[in-house]
């Protein structure tokens, strides 16, 4: 009885094995693997890694905060500030920019970051206002271009001093 049971189990396992093996190596499947041009990939995230396995690009929904230069994770994203889209990371794994939308307010934005903070922002608000901003680490020097339904303005701050380039108050 025991012998028959083991014999049956071996045959069953062998059949399963052959099915899996066939599934991996059949010519038909190989053709499918080589040609995905008519297929649609549906996933929650896609991670591109470099030769060392360091994550360099993430395309995903609700991307987590990344690490700091000190070797720990940064503060958690506050509630309602989840972002989804594409993030880029440098060779040390630090977040250096993104092309994302946020879950709460509904902004779409493109950001570029230094190793210590964000320094560039291009933003489109859900109701039509847009902005393009560049600034230094401390925010003492800043260039800002903004448009809304009612105004279009350029603001420049040089060494913490505002410079008015053009504004027609009338």
């Amino acid at each position: 009885m025991k012998k028959n049971l083991l014999y049956g189990l071996t045959i069953f396992n062998s059949i399963c094995f052959l099915i899996i093996l066939f599934g991996f190596s059949s010519g038909d499947n190989e053709k499918k693997l080589l040609n995905y041009s008519d297929r649609i990939l549906k996933v929650r995230g896609l991670i591109i890694v470099d030769s060392l396995g360091i994550e360099r690009v993430i395309i995903a929904s609700q991307i987590p905060t990344s690490q700091s230069s000190l070797g720990n994770r940064l503060y958690p994203r506050e509630k309602g500030t989840n972002v989804s889209g594409l993030m880029i990371y440098d060779s040390e794994g630090q977040e250096r920019g993104g092309y994302v939308t946020d879950d709460d307010y509904g902004n779409a934005f493109l950001t570029l970051d230094s190793k210590t903070g964000q320094t560039f922002l291009a933003l489109a608000e859900p109701y039509g206002a847009t902005a393009l901003q560049l600034w230094d680490r401390k925010g003492r020097n800043k260039i800002s271009l903004e448009t809304t339904d009612s105004i279009a303005q350029i603001n420049i701050k040089n060494n913490n001093k505002s410079i008015k380039l053009y504004r027609d108050d009338k």
Binding site: K2, K3, L6, Y7, L9, T10, N13, S14, C16, F17, I20, L21, F24, G45, I47, L52, G53, I54, E55, I58, A60, Q62, I63, P64, T65, S66, Q67, S69, L70, G71, N72, R73, Y75, P76, M87, Y89, S91, E92, G93, Q94, E95, K115, T116, R137
Partner: protein, 343 residues
């Protein structure tokens, strides 16, 4: 005959599992957005030459000077940000992203205890000088002290204890707390104030036995003299020393502009003064690490630059000094580690 069937059955099962595992490797269970090769912290376990290191991937290993390989002690399957070692009990305290503080037996790698945090996570954990207490605070500022001898029972902290970041507790129970403008010595056992000094701290770096403090403000490291109550000097990494020996025009550049290179052949890029990540006192020196991948050595008395330690291939994120102040260990964000003789 039965044995033969059984063995064959096992082989077939193994192959199935192996093939299935290869297929499953394509997928990860969650997004992390961290570099799993980074060393996140380092802690001495001996007098010198032997340290513990941790990673974002949850690995705790022993690294020994001049040995290329790690000896893995534990894999926690959680991100680790800070380590502390208790030599009296041979236990490692590791602060993690999702499981609070985990206490591990160094000998067998087994988890001894899990100490939950109220919110978020801790990025700095340490034992008191006599290893009676384990101390930390989470990212929201909640503070925790556990009594090691009481099987890590959490101590209810007095409401009288001044706000601020706990950085040290000596054998007498004197707790040092810092804020951006105060250095407070608090008698933890008697629940009373010992001394309060005015200081100027942006981000705490280190404190020496005289009470002098290193404060880090992005690319500046200042030495604050707590007795004189003033900043004695501020230092900045004066340049970026780049190793470009693999670049195609390196030999040509070196020949044409030798003045732009150090005697070791590193390109000196002036005008770059990058963020300082860590700073430490040791004897009559100050050591500062930076995202420029170097450690600079400064005279503790006057802030004069004495030496530049190079060789790391990525941001130097942690530096630690051994108890006799004869050796420094440094780690970087690409899993590099270096031991420096600082005698």
């Amino acid at each position: 005959m039965i044995n033969r069937y059984f063995t064959l059955s096992l082989i077939v099962l193994f192959l199935q599992v192996h093939l299935k595992a290869q297929y499953s490797d394509m997928f990860v269970t969650k997004l992390t957005a961290v570099n799993r090769t980074s060393y996140t912290d380092v802690a001495y376990v001996g007098l010198k030459d032997t340290v513990l290191v941790s990673t974002f991937s949850g690995r705790i290993s022993v690294r020994i000077k001049d040995l290329a390989k790690e000896k893995v002690i534990a894999n926690l399957n959680d991100e680790i940000y800070s380590l502390a070692y208790n030599p009296t009990k041979r236990e490692i305290a590791a602060s993690t992203l999702e499981n609070g503080i985990i206490i591990i037996n160094k000998q067998n790698g087994q988890v001894v205890k899990k100490l939950p945090l109220r919110t978020t996570w801790s990025i700095n954990i340490f034992y008191s000088d006599n290893y009676d207490y384990l101390l930390t605070h989470d990212q929201k500022g909640n503070r925790y002290i556990w009594a090691v001898k009481d099987n890590y029972g959490q101590i209810k902290l007095s409401s009288k204890m001044p706000a601020g970041r706990m950085i040290k507790m000596d054998s007498m129970g004197t707790l040092t707390i810092v804020t951006q403008n105060k250095l407070i010595l608090w008698d933890f056992k008697r629940d009373s104030l010992i001394k309060e000094t005015t200081v100027q701290i942006t981000r705490f770096g280190d404190m020496d036995y005289q009470g002098n403090i290193l404060s880090i403000d992005f690319n500046e490291c200042s030495k604050y003299n707590s007795n004189l109550q003033k900043t004695e000097f501020v230092v900045k990494h004066p340049n970026w020393l780049r190793d470009i020996k693999d670049y195609p025009n390196y030999e040509k550049s070196l020949k044409e502009s030798p003045q732009d290179f150090t005697p070791e052949g590193l390109l000196v890029m002036n005008g770059y003064s990058m963020q300082i990540t860590a700073a430490r006192f040791a004897k009559n020196r100050i050591y500062s690490a930076s995202i420029d991948r170097s450690i600079r050595v400064w005279d503790k008395e006057n802030g004069r630059l004495l030496n530049s330690l190079t060789g790391h291939k990525a941001t130097v994120n942690k530096i630690k000094i051994n108890s006799s102040e004869t050796q420094m260990v440094s780690t970087d964000l690409k899993g590099g580690i270096k031991f420096w003789d600082i005698n």
